[in-house]
């Protein structure tokens, strides 16, 4: 089936998810076109010209950085001129701003956070429901065109030099109502969790802010660096520089010891490539066990107390 991949870029750099989308597109058979919506699409053309890409659609717009009205209008015009069976976007913050809108406007088949696709005489997509505890296969009856937001890191990035042709596509953008002003870097903390060999990571399971010092101390004793999952940052218990996950840091320590972390998709995206993952959780169905190398269904405080004794 013919696939349109929408390239994602930030401050002049192609974002890695784009090449992952190309891999998924190839699995659907192709032909594969990649749309680059940018002020100067040619600057990104080389980066997306990887093996398996048949055509690069260069869509020049006035805006250098992402704005959702611009992408929506550009894509709408592109889809009115060209036929694609499937449109692939990353399940990213940018895509969340216009992908569902485009699907609603054009009446496209739609699903997001999809992590497997196949052509089974029709498109079949797999995604999770109910906090990742179950998965489901989706089909798209009644839709000639389907727009999917694919989970980052679920596919390997496409590699190798491509031989894609480039087509310039002109679009007219009639205004952008949410305009990019500035980027502000994430706060850097006193500790760089991305350089640690051993992370002791705690989540909602620790229950209370008052328990954080206990785990800081345990991490110190064990020779680990303390990191956390998002809910602890949301509650203001600890600075965001300690946060592992999609909106925090992506880490790859030799050992990732997760205590009381259930394993939300966004958290797993930030740590699943760690060398060895050990998870302790009281819920035997916790999603963290799906990526862990070692798991224990246990009370994290009891395990922490025993670890204290050993170090």
């Amino acid at each position: 089936m013919s696939v349109l991949v929408v390239a994602e870029h930030l401050r002049g750099e192609l974002r890695p998810v784009t090449l992952e989308l190309v891999t998924a597109a190839k699995e659907l058979g192709g032909p594969v076109a990649v749309a680059v919506v940018a002020k100067d699409p040619s600057a990104l053309a080389d980066a997306v010209n990887v093996e398996g890409v048949d055509e690069i659609l260069a869509v020049a717009v006035d805006q250098e950085e992402f704005e959702n009205d611009v992408y929506e209008q550009a894509l709408e015009q592109l889809l009115s001129e060209r036929d694609f069976d499937v449109v692939l976007l990353g399940f990213t913050v940018n895509s969340m701003g216009y992908g569902p809108a485009l699907a609603a406007k054009l009446g496209l088949g739609f699903a997001s956070d999809v992590f497997a696709v196949r052509d089974d005489g029709g498109l079949v997509a797999t995604r999770a429901f109910y906090g990742s505890k179950v998965q489901a296969e989706l089909e798209f009856p009644g839709h000639d065109r389907v727009l999917l937001l694919l989970r980052p890191t679920a596919w390997a990035p496409a590699e190798g030099a491509g031989a894609a042709s480039t087509t310039d596509v002109s679009v007219s953008i009639s205004g952008s109502r949410a305009r990019h002003k500035d980027y502000v870097e994430a706060a850097t903390g006193d500790v760089d969790i991305t350089s640690a060999d051993f992370l002791l990571s705690v989540g909602r399971g620790i229950g209370d802010k008052e328990n954080i010092p206990q785990f800081e101390e345990l991490a110190g004793k064990m020779g680990a660096t303390l990191s956390v999952s998002r809910p602890l940052v949301d509650q203001g218990w600890i600075p965001s520089s300690r946060q592992v996950g999609q909106s925090g840091k992506t880490v790859k320590p030799k050992v990732y010891l997760a205590l009381g972390i259930s394993g939300a998709v966004q958290h797993l995206a930030g740590m699943k490539t760690s060398g060895t993952i050990i998870a302790v959780n009281s819920d035997p169905e916790a999603a963290i066990f799906n990526v862990a190398h070692y798991g224990a269904v246990a009370d994290l405080f009891e395990v922490a107390e025993e670890l204290e004794k050993l170090y």
């Binding site: 969340m96 699907a103 870097e185 051993f198 169905e285 224990a296 009370d299 670890l307």
Partner: protein, 250 residues
Amino acid sequence: MKIVVAVKQVAALGDEVEFTEDERDVDPDYLDFALNEWDTYATEEALRLCEASGDGEVVIVSVGDEDAEDAMRRCLAMGADRGIRIESEERLDPIQVARALAEVVQAESPDLVFAGVQSADAVQAATGTALAELLGLPRVAVVTKMELGDGKATVNRELEGGLVDVLEVETPALLTIQTGINEPRYATLRAIKQAEEKEIDVRQPSDLGTPAYEVTKMFVPPKGEGAEMLNGSAADVAQRIKEIVEECTA
């Protein structure tokens, strides 16, 4: 100042799961229900803005069956003024939910519309943006900060890795609200009791269109391939963890 907040009663699975006979969904007997976490932040943000304006109304809208009113009552107990529930017994896709909401929200002519970034059970992150489209409103997804101006707002959008995109958005607008933007208040017992008396209007949905997808099969994912479970007492588990750590960091 009138702010409409779209909320969802989300379903959580416990330790056990059974599927319906057609294997396309979980048997509802195995589900627990609660107000979506993101929506507590959206409701709080709406309440704060209205309180600051001195003259405001916060309207909670939701699509679901009568049980969904439990989640709406939570928002009313936090301080929202009234609710509108759009009747639906079925599990809808996010674009259908947006279609069900659109007419009702439009009729309210709000100054702002809020939704949570995503729902904890389905994680589509789609309803808010789709709703903005149907309402013809500017929108920003994944908002972590906002300041209202005259006919516009300055908002922070949280990108991957924590990078913040500062935007200026024309208002009225729809914003999807990220967790951590504020500290949602707890409802007092008295407020919970008073919320029982607040009005929840029930409407029937109009045409929801062709579903965006159809679930053909739901199943329990293959278990953590290669995950070795550490059994025994907490002391045994701790001992094994120490051994594994020493082996892997050596």
